[in-house]
């Protein structure tokens, strides 16, 4: 008989309870999709199962370090997807994963501070730093002919990061910012905020927020009261919630940017698979979460299940050279790895060629709301 083989565990650490409770479940199930694909297509190495250990980081450093410690020390994970929130990423990497030599790939920690962590090359992310997306969006808007916009952003690292990068680039490109204001999440009314922003005279509102959170409230109140004509969101707004709650017919002037892979059928492949698994592929950060888990699995496979080599392997499987691997192509990748052939993962959220800091530059697309959800308007550079 075959000797029982130990499972290979990775941590799926996210803000299940706490302020981003509404976003975390979709991200976790996207990562689990990757895991189940791995297991369905032969598992790890000699057929070991890949197991995702879910931990609750509560979107704060206290919870993040606690969950990470448990995952690393009690569960014995050899890699980690998450935490979701930047504060938790910063804390958990400094006090747990980096000292323990565990690779961490965050799918949503977007703070520019993550770039600077002294991490012995152990902290990666599949989501571009807010700096990149903000700038890319600014350039796209200029190209699309928006000259004057107002910006509303949620007052956290995500919103602040995007908004500031956006403003810098937009103004540098000759655009005019006619209103720039942060807001706290969770308030019942934002009409006065909107009125104030609208008083600057812009017709377009750039909204850096979450589509299933405060961003939805603001979008609704803006539409209902006729503030602004056009609405532009970041990836946080590219969520199904506005379509479900407000109706696609009301969102004809709503656009959002989000990271996508260059091989855009990567995204379609993922979308199909995730929809089949019962997920919402337009939910925020699901593509990055999926990619993070899938890449971690590839790296572990390449490193032979040993945490030591994961970091190097992670770079090798997606450095742009080698046989392209699309989302879900585990069996193929496994074979190639076994054969010693170089592979290059082309993810749903981008190609993920990590720079020396473990960041990805990200490629973005600009979406509009069509009849069946979001449709790509144009690629962004």
């Amino acid at each position: 008989s075959v000797p029982a083989k130990a499972d290979v565990k990775i941590g799926l650490i996210g803000g299940v309870s706490g302020p981003i409770a509404a976003m975390a479940p979709a991200m976790i199930s996207a990562a689990e999709l990757a895991i189940s694909q791995v297991n369905a297509q032969g598992g790890m190495m000699d057929g070991e199962q890949l197991v995702g250990v879910v931990g609750d980081s509560q979107c704060n450093p206290q919870g993040g370090t606690d969950a990470a410690t448990k995952a690393v020390n009690i569960e014995g994970v050899v890699g980690m997807v998450g935490p979701h929130c930047s504060g938790a990423v910063l804390a958990a990497s400094a006090s747990v994963t980096v000292p323990a030599g565990i690779v961490m790939v965050t799918p949503s920690g977007t703070s520019p501070e993550i770039t600077n962590i002294e991490d012995n090359d152990l902290v990666f992310r599949t989501v571009p730093s807010d700096d990149y997306q903000g700038r890319a969006l600014a350039r796209t808007l200029i190209e699309q002919g928006y000259g004057k916009v107002a910006v509303a952003y949620i007052n956290n690292d995500y919103g602040t990061g995007l908004a500031q990068a956006f403003r810098a680039e937009f103004e540098a490109q000759g655009g005019e910012i006619a209103g720039f204001a942060a807001h706290e999440e969770g308030k019942a009314s934002y009409r006065s905020n909107l009125a104030d922003l609208a008083s600057g005279g812009a017709n377009t509102l750039v909204l850096f927020d979450y589509g299933d959170g405060t961003g939805l409230t603001m979008l609704r109140q803006a539409l209902e009261n006729g503030f602004f004509e056009t609405f532009i969101g970041g990836d946080g707004m590219k969520s199904n919630a506005p379509i479900n709650e407000l109706g696609a017919e009301n969102l004809s002037t709503f656009f959002a940017s989000a990271p996508v892979g260059e091989a855009s059928n990567s995204l379609e492949t993922f979308n199909a698979a995730f929809t089949e698994a019962g997920g919402d592929p337009d939910a925020i950060f699901v593509t990055t979460a999926y990619d993070a888990a899938f890449m971690l699995a590839l790296a572990l496979e390449k490193a032979g299940g040993d945490k030591e080599g994961v970091s190097a392997a992670l770079r090798e499987i997606s450095n742009g050279e080698g046989e392209p691997i699309l989302p879900g192509e585990w069996a193929k990748a496994k074979e190639l790895i076994a054969a010693g052939t170089a592979i290059d993962y082309k993810g749903a959220a981008g190609d993920h060629n990590f720079d020396e800091n473990g960041d990805v530059p990200g490629t973005f697309a600009f979406f509009k709301v069509g009849n069946d959800g979001f449709e790509v308007v144009t690629q962004m550079k």
Partner: protein, 290 residues
């Protein structure tokens, strides 16, 4: 900025928001005065009420206004039940114990909501509704109903408290529970009554918040601090004070955008509160000094 604009985009939203706060603050102020503790699970009970109504709305397809009574009754029952199971045996203990217990209840209620209804944003009615314009004032039906319902519920409560024997008994209980007992006032009934009222109003706050925005599992928790500010602002134990406090907090939050950077909107309630405590520590209407 024109006058109409001020009214449409600052005053009216402020009043609607204030009415929602007021519904919650009235319950908080009653519990404060009669049972003498800060009930930190109030916000999450409001969430529960909102989701109960949601279940009714999606289950049998009625409008949220029709579901409101169901939510009120259900939440009132839950509140009474929570008191019986968890708070009752702490009655003789220092009040801080119950405050901490209510924090635990907040977590438990929220967990129940999250397990049953999940964590996604929901709305009672899909789509958007644009306001009607009356003489340049942009008002939605739901806003009128919110304010009217608040006035009706709180007005009825006010009459009950000042006219009926049980209303007075509630005050007596809040004043000197032992002596109330010795006067033949059945403290159990008074406490049940308090929870029925507080729980019911709290559900109404949740439902109206849901009607005016969306339903989220954290919606109540996020309303908790402004509701407390409103209760204290109005004077503890004063029902009409809580309404006034709620309206002031609501209006101030909306108007604050005109003078403060909008990220400080959430602080306005507290700035007003601190200022008021400095000049008038008993609240706008003279409340209890606890």
């Amino acid at each position: 900025m024109g006058f109409l604009e001020l009214v449409n985009f600052y005053i009216i939203p402020g009043i609607v928001l204030g009415s929602i706060y007021a519904l919650g603050a009235v319950g908080i102020t009653l519990i404060f005065a009669i049972l003498r503790y800060a009930h930190l699970a109030h916000g999450d009970l409001a969430t529960l009420g909102a989701f109960v109504a949601f279940a009714v709305v999606t289950g049998i397809g009625v409008s949220p206004y029709a579901a409101l009574p169901v939510a009120i009754v259900a939440t009132a029952l839950v509140a009474v039940g929570i008191d019986k199971v968890f708070y009752e045996h702490l009655r003789e203990r220092p009040k801080i114990i119950t405050v901490i217990a209510s924090l635990g209840i907040a977590l438990m209620v929220r967990a129940v909501v999250q397990v049953i209804w999940g964590v996604d944003s929901e709305s009672y009615v899909r789509g958007i509704s644009r306001p009607d314009v009356y003489f340049g004032l942009r008002i939605r039906d739901r806003e009128i109903y919110t304010v009217l319902a608040m006035l009706a519920l709180v007005g009825a409560l006010y009459v009950f408290l000042s006219r009926s024997k049980w209303g007075k008994a509630m005050r007596a209980m809040s004043d000197n529970p032992n002596l109330a007992l010795l006067s033949g006032i059945d403290n159990k009934t008074v406490i049940v009554l308090t929870w029925v009222i507080a729980g019911g109003l709290c559900a109404a706050a949740g439902v109206f918040l849901g009607i005016n925005t969306e339903l989220k599992s954290m919606m109540g928790w996020q309303m908790l601090l402004p509701m407390f500010a409103a209760a204290i602002l109005g004077g503890v134990g004063r029902v009409e004070g809580a309404v006034l406090g709620g309206l002031i907090v609501g209006l101030a939050e909306e108007l604050s955008v005109l003078i403060l950077p909008s990220e400080y909107k959430a602080a306005t309630a507290f700035v007003i509160l601190l200022f008021m405590l400095l000049v008038r520590p008993t609240g706008i209407l003279r409340g209890k000094v606890l």
